[in-house]
């Protein structure tokens, strides 16, 4: 894109700075720390917070507000504590989104879809949503009922609501149960035998928050265990479903590892806490059932810990080999 001074909006930067969170816009010296620490870029290589900030400071109003990039930042704030100019970039992005919404732009999505015929209006999704994007409201088809509604200006498609919905009324493309299960079972992985089912080597299923992994290289390193481990990316560790964990254990998988972001680094504000509590409750439940709770574990993965995933998997595999066969668990 070409930036012609005549097309630049001299007031745009001031407008952003007037917004809550936008005031440090002009102190950016373009060092690129944010761009290189940002975990979004692994999935959206074009995303560059530095460029967005620079465009905004130059006054490229249309380019910034129409850009899908301003909707990609999920406010994990990996950049904020590292920025030498102490710019709270996620807040600047928030200010830009506000301006974009006012200018009539819409967030690109994908957004969760509520099947209003199935939704019971229980509002569990509203409680779990970190962005207050879910709220029960009068159903359009049947005004006597309340059903969940998605606020597209707030939703950052983390999928927590999908996992939380007790009725299974919410779906979100690429993170539906079927798609996750397909990743687990791909290439006949579930048919192979682990230690529990008479095999010779341990078999571990790992649900991994996609944002907690720094680079593809880190992912590849964790793959060196071959078929002993099946890595399944999730949009957030909070997306993990206890039923899926139990299903895997009942089918002879030796252990299930859930890897989520470290404290204060969650891409979806509190998704990692939700994931962690799910796994904790599940392991307690297994213990009361007389099952070895070591077989379900949550591992915290700091964004700066490049080799963390590999280590977590290795530790889990080592744990499995020390365990003797438990009583069987069957789940319908």
């Amino acid at each position: 894109m070409t930036a012609r001074p005549t097309q630049l909006d001299a007031h745009f930067a001031a407008e952003v700075m007037e917004r809550p969170g936008g005031k440090h816009l002009l102190t950016c010296m373009a060092c690129g720390t944010c761009a290189s620490v940002c975990l979004v870029r692994r999935f959206y290589p074009s995303f560059n917070p530095r460029r967005v900030l620079h465009q905004a400071s130059l006054g490229m109003r249309e380019a910034v507000l129409s850009s899908p990039e301003i909707w990609l930042c999920s406010a994990c704030d990996a950049c904020y504590p590292r920025c030498p100019q102490e710019i709270h970039i996620s807040e600047v992005m928030g200010a830009l989104r506000d301006l974009a919404i006012e200018a009539g732009y819409e967030a690109p999505g994908p957004f969760p879809v509520v099947d209003s015929a199935v939704c019971s209006g229980c509002a569990v999704c509203a409680r779990v949503c970190p962005y207050e994007a879910m709220a029960p409201a009068r159903d359009e088809a049947d005004p006597t009922r309340q059903t969940a509604h998605v606020d597209h200006t707030r939703c950052l498609h983390c999928g927590l609501c999908v996992a939380a919905c007790p009725s299974g009324a919410i779906s979100l493309e690429e993170t539906n149960d079927q798609e996750i299960l397909a990743r687990v079972t791909a290439d006949g992985w579930m048919e192979q035998r682990g230690l529990l089912s008479g095999g010779t080597q341990p078999r571990c299923l790992a649900f991994v928050c996609q944002w907690s992994i720094r680079s593809d290289a880190a992912w590849e390193r964790a793959q060196r265990f071959g078929d002993q481990v099946r890595l399944v990316p999730l949009p957030c560790s909070g997306r993990v479903e206890p039923a899926m964990v139990l299903w895997a254990l009942s089918r002879g998988v030796d252990a299930v590892l859930v890897v989520g972001c470290d404290d204060d680094e969650c891409h979806y504000q509190r998704g990692t806490y939700i994931g962690r509590s799910k796994v904790y409750l599940l392991s307690e439940m297994l213990a009361t059932m007389g099952y070895q709770q070591e077989r379900v574990r949550f591992a915290r993965q700091a964004s700066a810990d490049r080799y963390g995933l590999e280590r977590h998997v290795q530790e889990m595999l080592a744990t499995i080999t020390t365990l003797t066969a438990p009583i069987a668990v069957t789940v319908d």
Binding site: G32, T33, C34, A35, S36, R50, A304
Partner: protein, 622 residues
């Protein structure tokens, strides 16, 4: 250094600390404490037999603790004077050194700290800088990953007189690295640590890179930078040479350094601006160009010498352009990185300049000072009457005033710089600043507000900053309303709150009090002395019924002509929004209270001619 030690007019007092400094330009009295070496300097010939005999090895701070030294040793090989010293924190008193010293009999365990006093005419402060500790930046892993080192450590590792005899090796495995990444701006240009640019790191990083490339042609060297700054003679050419030598430059500040647990290699992640994308570089060693920071004991020395410090913590010069090597205290001069980050050529230049400034004083029998000093009227000073006061002494940024109960306050004229803060602070009008007396300033207020005062903005401006700012507004042809009338004082500390009250009593529409920004004050802490008073005045005015919107305090630097024009324009708009009758009513209503507060002035025989046109206090009160 050796030349200096041999010079007949130079005495080196090593191992010695300044304890206390008294006096003034040309007549300083300095108390020194020489710490014991436990070695008699006159007898030690520097042979080193004692160190060889010593069985104790401790980390050597000169080698940044990479190498050991003995519990009796010299600070470093080229130390001047070459006298060994015992490190009492580690000595086990085996006395093997005494035996080794033999007939020279230079070792004396009974030595005590020695206090000495010297009389000097001038003082040059050249205490240098310290290096930022990068371990507080977790993302670079210094202190966690052995192969992440600082530039100072690289200097030692690459030095032929260093611990590895110039053979660069990795701390993790002792192997020579095949690749090196250098990260710039570590702890500098960073609001979390030091906001300023350290200035010389770009050049030494390039120097180190070229040096390493010359020693190891195959070495892969990458420099990560935000901006390369090469603003001196020949520097840019040097940078070009580095690029031509095959040194790789990435414009981007790394966000993370991670260690490969298997190899000990480091992966650096940064965004390169030209590529517009992220680069990941694997290097066997990482060198951090850590910020230059003020010496940790700078505060201590600043207190002893009444030095000011810049916001960055380095010692502040008297004037950044016109007196760059003078300290705010007359007769004290600054040289080198103690005054701000500096490379060697600049430090040498400043050292020569400081010596010349000092020689200027030393070569004369008498020294002229500015005539604007303050003086005490002993008859009015209540300290002379045995009462407790000392307000003036507390206000003086130079420690020029001494107050002893029962004696009038004494001002050391040679130490006084003429800010006038004491004159304004004295509650008994016992201090006058020459050429800025109460009578002179009150006469100006009277004259400037003689005609239609309710339409005027009376502005008090400090000589160095806000008066310069007003001047700048004029020479830059900034337009602002013609309603302002200025009164110049040396420092805003001289602006007595009673001047503001007097202005309102004489009917002023608005009053502006202005001075330097806190960090720019030419009288060290003068601005703060004034600022405290001006803040209190706001509530006083409110109590008296004068709208605080008619009184404004602004810090305006000499470069901020635009700000001066803007402030006056804004104040004029406020004044224009007022009904002139309301201004007059507020001023009249406050007149009686003001008159009571100015009673001492009204009764002062030196000021009779100023107040003769005003009604007597009693009349106003009625």
């Amino acid at each position: 250094m050796v030349d200096a030690a041999r010079h007949p007019n130079i005495t080196i007092l090593a191992n010695t600390e300044v304890e206390h400094v008294d006096g003034f330009i040309g007549n300083f009295s300095v108390n020194l404490i020489t710490k014991p070496r436990y070695v008699i300097a006159d007898r030690c010939n520097g042979c080193g037999a004692c160190a060889q005999a010593c069985p104790i090895e401790v980390p050597n701070p000169f080698e940044l603790n990479i190498a050991p030294r003995k519990a009796i040793d010299v600070p470093h090989g080229q130390a001047v004077p070459l006298v060994y010293a015992v490190d009492m924190d580690h000595c086990i008193h085996c006395y093997k050194c005494v035996t080794a010293c033999g007939k020279l009999d230079a070792i004396d365990f009974a030595q005590q700290p020695q206090e000495t006093n010297i009389e000097v005419g001038t003082i040059v402060v050249a205490t240098g800088f310290s290096s930022f500790d990068p371990s507080v930046i977790p993302e670079y892993g210094y202190g966690r990953y052995p192969n992440v080192i600082t530039a100072m450590e690289l200097e030692r590792l690459a030095n032929s007189a260093g611990p590895t005899v110039g053979r660069l090796v990795r701390p993790s495995d002792g192997q020579p690295p095949q690749s090196m990444a250098i990260i710039q701006c570590v702890g500098s240009r960073d609001k979390r640590y030091n906001e300023y640019c350290s200035g010389f790191c770009c050049m030494y990083a390039i120097k180190n890179a070229i040096l390493l490339k010359q020693m190891h042609h195959a070495m892969d060297i990458t420099i990560f930078y935000i901006d390369i700054r090469t603003p001196s003679k020949g520097y840019e050419e040097f940078y070009t040479r580095a690029r031509e030598a095959g040194i790789r430059f990435f414009q981007g500040r790394p966000s993370l350094v991670s260690e490969d647990p298997d190899t000990g290699n480091l992966i650096i992640e940064a965004e390169d601006q030209a590529l517009g994308g992220v680069v990941e570089v694997e290097a066997e060693m990482v060198c951090l160009s850590a910020a230059a920071i003020p010496q940790p004991d700078a505060d201590d020395l600043a207190a002893k010498l009444t030095l000011a410090r810049s916001p960055s913590g380095f010692f502040m010069e008297y004037h950044p352009k016109l007196r760059p090597v003078d300290a705010p205290t007359d007769g004290v001069y600054l040289a080198g990185a103690a005054q701000g980050p500096k490379d060697i050529p600049a430090s040498v230049a400043q050292g020569s300049a400081a010596a010349s400034r000092a020689a200027r004083v030393l070569s004369q029998d008498t020294w002229e000072i500015e005539p604007i000093v303050a003086e005490v009227d002993p008859a009015l000073c209540i300290s002379a009457q045995g009462k407790k006061c000392g307000i003036c002494a507390r206000a003086c940024p130079y420690g020029a005033i001494v107050v002893e109960q029962g004696q009038p306050a004494t001002i050391f004229t040679a130490k006084c710089h003429g800010c006038g803060g004491c004159a304004a602070e004295c509650p008994h009008n016992a201090i006058q600043q020459k050429h800025f007396t109460d009578a002179q300033i009150l006469a100006q207020i009277k004259t400037l507000l003689q005609d239609r005062p309710e339409e005027k903005i009376l502005a008090f401006m400090c000589n160095w900053c806000s008066y310069g700012g007003a001047d700048m507004a004029g020479i830059s042809h900034f337009t602002y309303p013609a309603t302002s009338r200025g009164i110049r004082v040396m420092c805003c500390a001289r602006t007595d709150d009673k001047f503001v009250l007097e202005a309102f009593r004489r009917g002023a529409g608005m009053v502006l009090v202005s001075g330097c920004h806190p960090q720019d004050c030419h009288y060290i802490t003068g601005q703060q002395v004034g600022a405290r008073r001006f803040e209190r005045l706001r509530t006083t005015l409110e109590r008296m019924g004068i709208d605080p919107a008619r009184y404004r305090v602004e810090w305006i630097s000499a470069a901020e002509g635009e700000k001066y024009a803007r402030v006056i324009t804004e104040m004029d708009a406020v004044l224009a929004s007022y009904d002139p009758a309301e201004v007059v009513r507020q001023n009249r209503q406050a007149a009686a209270q003001i008159a009571r507060r100015l009673k001492k002035w009204n009764e002062d025989p030196r000021l009779v001619h100023i107040f003769e046109d005003l009604p007597l206090v009693e009349e106003v009160v009625e």
